[in-house]
Amino acid sequence: MLFQKLQQDILLWQGFKPVSAGKAERIGLGEIENSFPGSVFPKKAIHEFITVLPEHSAASDGFIAGLLAVLMENGAACVWASTSRRLFPASLSLFNVEPERIIFMDVETEKDVLWITEEALKCEGLAAVVAEVNNLSLIESRRLQLAVESSGVTGFILRKDENKTTSTVATARWRISPLPSHTEDGMPGLGFPRWQVELLKVRNGNPGSFVLEWAGEKFEEVKKAKKQIVWSEMEGRQIG
């Protein structure tokens, strides 16, 4: 009890404003949510996803779609800005997202993506904004963070370039890698999509690594995960 109180006090001193108790909702990530300050998934924040390989990017798309299902529950729309979008709208319905409520903006330049992202993050009628960029500088990320703080729209940034490890002010940095799926009793075919969810950085929280499955309707954590070969550990592979 005393320990929890102390933790909350430290968070307050660090400048973190706790979400009021009545509004604390679960996003369906289970154990992962405990990594965030106050055990609440920060909706008013920028989440950064490192996606170098197309397999990573597909896994991140799936993971984000699972989150969007909860964020867009109230009927709000979502903006998806990109220069080279490969997301297939028809697949989103498998993650309980209505694809017609996502507005895609396929522009030519990275500059336009960032402009649209900032404008969209200021727009209170949206639930979330997803942007696919190659790189994000500190200044750009700070602008996006400021936009988010005033409106409360969740921002997801898919970063393609890992090498430029510029520091950003994103609240959380994720890396989603695909894992071999598991089928019951060795049945043939593929099981539910399974991912290694690495929370590389959380502001005021604890980073960690988890194994997660999209169990048709919701996320499900896989407890007894054996050490698998994680995609991100394979180096020297061509970027697709």
Partner: protein, 502 residues
Amino acid sequence: MQRRFVSIWFRQLLADWQLIRRPELKDVPFVFAAPDHGRMMITAVCPIASDFGVEVGMRAADAKAICPGLEVLDDKQGRPKTLLKGLGEWCVRYSPIVAIDEFGMDGLLLDVSGCTHLWGGERGYLKEIVSRLKSKGYTVRLAIADTPGAAWAVSHYGKVTPLIPTGEQVDALLDLVPDALRLEETVLAKLRKLGFYQIKSFIGMPRSVLRRRFGEDFLLRLAQAIGTENEVLVPLQVPIPFSERLACLEPIKTRNGIEIAINKLLEKLCTRMQAEGKGLRTGVLTCYRIDGKVVRVDIGTSGATHSISHLFKLFQLKIDQIRPALGIELFVLDAPKVDDVEVPQEEMWTSAPGLDDKSVIRLLDRVAGKVGFQVIHRYLPATKYWPERSVQRAVSVTEKSVTTWRVNKPRPTELLKIPVPIEVMAIIPDHPPKFFIYKGVRHMVAKADGPERIEREWWLDQGEHRDYYQVEDEQGGRYWLFRSGHYGSDNKYKWFIHGFFA
């Protein structure tokens, strides 16, 4: 209100225009001629030349023989029309609706209903136009009547008075020749042959008789002249009901100044639109610079709106395109397209968010204004199995889907726009691949699902069917592969990768 029309007939449009341009031709007979079937035919004659008996339709060589010292000038196709257009735009000061007389191509028709009292009645009005045009150098004949047809007839052939009082156009027409009805030459010849030299000799005849002899067009022209049939004028400048202008005392050069100007114009325009329940769909800002150039920027909205702040933001994105140069002296803001504004009922609680949320619509307007409308896409399910065609673009933001999204078959999260060929080792006949090589990396397949055969729509395009497999390699990457065509058939089968699963 009784409608009134004025017909202005420029008796020697081209000759007058040439005299204004070259006053030294005042004492020289000249004609305009254009080549026709290998000879020069006269298209316009100046007054001096016509005294010698030169007429339109004569050969230039013949005219030269009659009239010594005749100067033949080249005529250009469509020149009267450009001249009339310029004159018509000048005449907008007399009436907002000015049309070119398409029949003769030598006059203007004005809808002057409710305009004449500004010049002290119809007589003063006509006098003003005649004297102003005369001072410019044009000789004109005018007439005013209830119908454009009657005004045209009286201006060309009237001998008594150019002022035809309301309801008396039939009396005025009676003594005129049939040519006054704007008829085809063949019909006129027929009329003359039958001895109809005046309109009164056939105006009382039964319609069925006239139609059989002279055709439907003849009856229409007659009806338009006497006023039983409506004649629609095509105005040169469509009057824009929502337009505001701001003249500046000093030329404006700075961004700040332009912003203030836009704001002032929007305030005036939006107050008017709000009072009438209208909203802007397209807006055009025209900036007149002091060096005589005109700069235009336009905006568009996806829904009618009269919100000043929103419209201002849309214009703000375009200010970079305005080059003030030495300065802008006049701003004109037009709203060529307006719509009724749907005033939503004030919600007691916060309204449900969605695609038609006000802030979302505004965001789309801004993106469309900055990057272009073509970058915004939304997808609806299509009733097709072929993966590339299973989604279709939505036309509007609010368009609803007719069918539901199919969820019973696996579809990849990321779909390649064009399938990429891969190298595959697979067991015949329809086992999934053992391994495949994509971009130089060998993926050993650990788990697989399929095949799912998708036939090509033969009525749309030719080609092979596809057998799709969902495979997972040993690292956990999930892919969508397909084989195009049958094994062993004459045409070669091929393997492709088409997508990545989450």
